[in-house]
């Protein structure tokens, strides 16, 4: 357990010291401000975009979870695996008294922590911006919906991260993994639209699953089914990623 804890702290420390991570968080936050400014501009010319203050943070999440968040998560995952393999720094940690399983799990935990921090910062800022613009419509139910939708988005994003981690353990070049991940994402996205009845098989179609959680209709069955599919994908890619990580000769 000591090795795992030390590895998680080290991975987070490295992320923090690399300015890249801070830049990613800043970009996420800037996107919200731009989004709000655009919606503000549209409402001043008579086009009502967000009627309630709670709609804006969820709309931001819908955009973010399909675009920037998967992209940033892929970059972080590539940096922690393929990046360290290609820069030859992976062996620094691997020659310390920590098992490969603990190190692998610690890196995944660090990615989850990054995604969570990113989601929470966007949630807090978008809610603040939204409340400033339309304070009267804030309700406890609305806030709860926002928190639930942001928290549950962690799951599909982490499944995507595990796919990227799996690819990072196959290829040595971070650039190759990045382009392959983007290509795979686009293919899954298009396939999900073309074969709509089977869209639940494509992980990209689950990036919007937070909508089921805050929907008025009772979608417990759909939530359970999608959760189990994501859990299945998660277990498969975690296991396959770790298998390759463990077998890899440095």
């Amino acid at each position: 357990m000591g090795g795992y804890k030390a590895s998680v702290i080290n991975e987070l420390d490295k992320m923090y010291k690399k300015k890249k991570m801070i830049v990613i968080l800043i970009i996420s936050v800037v996107v919200i401000l731009i989004g709000k400014l655009i919606s503000f501009g549209m409402s001043t010319v008579g086009v009502g975009v967000f009627k309630e203050s709670t709609v804006f943070p969820i709309s931001v999440l819908s955009v973010l979870s399909n675009t920037l968040l998967p992209l940033f998560t892929a970059l972080v995952a590539i940096d922690l695996f393929a990046g360290e393999f290609s820069h030859n720094t992976m062996k620094i940690t691997l020659t310390r008294p920590v098992s490969r399983f603990k190190l692998f799990t610690a890196k995944i935990t660090a990615i989850a922590f990054f995604v969570l921090i990113n989601l929470l910062s966007v949630m807090v800022l978008s809610t603040i911006v939204s409340s400033i613009c339309n304070f009267s419509s804030i309700t406890l139910v609305g806030i709860t919906r926002i928190v639930i939708s942001y928290i549950v988005t962690l799951l599909p994003i982490m499944v995507l991260a595990l796919v990227v981690v799996f690819l990072s353990n196959i290829f040595k070049s971070g650039t190759a993994v990045f382009f392959l991940s983007v290509l795979l994402y686009l293919v899954c996205f298009v396939m999900g639209r073309i074969f709509a009845p089977y869209s639940s098989l494509f992980i990209t179609s689950m990036l919007d699953w937070h909508i089921h959680w805050v929907s008025d209709a009772k979608l417990l069955w759909k939530i359970t089914r999608e959760f189990l599919i994501m859990l299945g994908y998660g277990i498969i890619f975690f296991t396959a990623g770790f298998y390759l990580f463990d077998k890899r000769d440095l």
Binding site: K91, R96, P97, D249
Partner: protein, 241 residues
């Protein structure tokens, strides 16, 4: 005498046919073992397997009695190493690099970090980022990381690479001092045969993946004028040079 490293029937063959074949070796506490061999003889491969960076085709390695594959954490608990090249995180300072490694050990605090930076002669660069370091400074930082936890076994692959003459002498003294005062065992590979002669107490010669012979330095120098002569003689016996 306590066995620190036990290697039995270690074999690893690459696609090009090179590698190591049926390596058997025992290293005892307090030894400064010099692992000699030409380029491509399998020194780094053996060291990578010994530190768990690579899996062997067959055979086993035990460090302090613990199998490196099945009991990795226990085996590496008292080991420090530099394998192939001394790497560090370029975006971190020397102190921050060592701070990361220190988290894996209970007995390492900031005082110990400063102590090893002092020992390896880079204390004045403590707060400078590793990306600005010269090759020699990176090597010194790698050595600092290797001895940080006061390990009982230090495995060093070409530790004197990139060091200037002053640096070589300092590191050689440091290795000898640690072996004498703290009974630290060293397993060192090097091309610098003169340095190996001045530093090591036992020598093993690896040639084309096979361990030709293991002998004490005293015996070697009693029978040969220099270690180089012994090396050439051993290799000649096996049909080359």
């Amino acid at each position: 005498m306590e066995k620190v490293i036990e290697i039995h029937g270690l074999t690893k063959t690459y696609k090009n046919g090179r590698g190591i074949k049926n390596l058997n070796l025992e290293i005892y506490k307090g030894d400064i073992f010099g692992f000699l061999g030409p380029n491509g003889s399998g020194k780094t491969t053996a060291m990578k397997i010994m530190t768990g960076l690579m899996k062997a085709d067959s055979g086993e390695v035990k460090l302090f009695g613990y199998n490196i594959v099945d009991q990795y954490e226990k085996a590496m608990e008292r080991v420090g190493c530099i394998i192939e090249t001394a790497e560090s995180y370029p975006y971190l300072t020397a102190y921050e690099n060592l701070k990361l490694f220190s988290r894996y050990y209970k007995n390492v605090d900031d005082n110990r970090i400063n102590e090893v930076l002092e020992l390896t002669g880079i204390i004045k660069y403590r707060n400078e980022k590793a990306k600005n370091f010269s090759l020699g400074m990176k090597q010194r930082l790698g050595l600092s990381a290797a001895i940080l936890s006061k390990p009982d076994l230090v495995i060093l692959d070409e530790p004197l690479n990139s060091l200037d003459i002053e640096g070589m002498i300092e590191i050689r003294k440091l290795i000898k001092r640690l072996a004498e005062t703290e009974q630290t065992t060293f397993f060192i590979s090097s091309h610098l045969i003169h340095d190996v002669e001045l530093t090591c107490t036992r020598i093993g010669i690896l040639y084309e993946g096979k361990l030709l012979n293991v002998d004490n330095m005293q015996n070697i120098l009693a029978n040969y004028a220099t270690l180089e002569n012994y090396f050439i003689s051993e290799v000649e016996k096996n049909g080359r040079i």
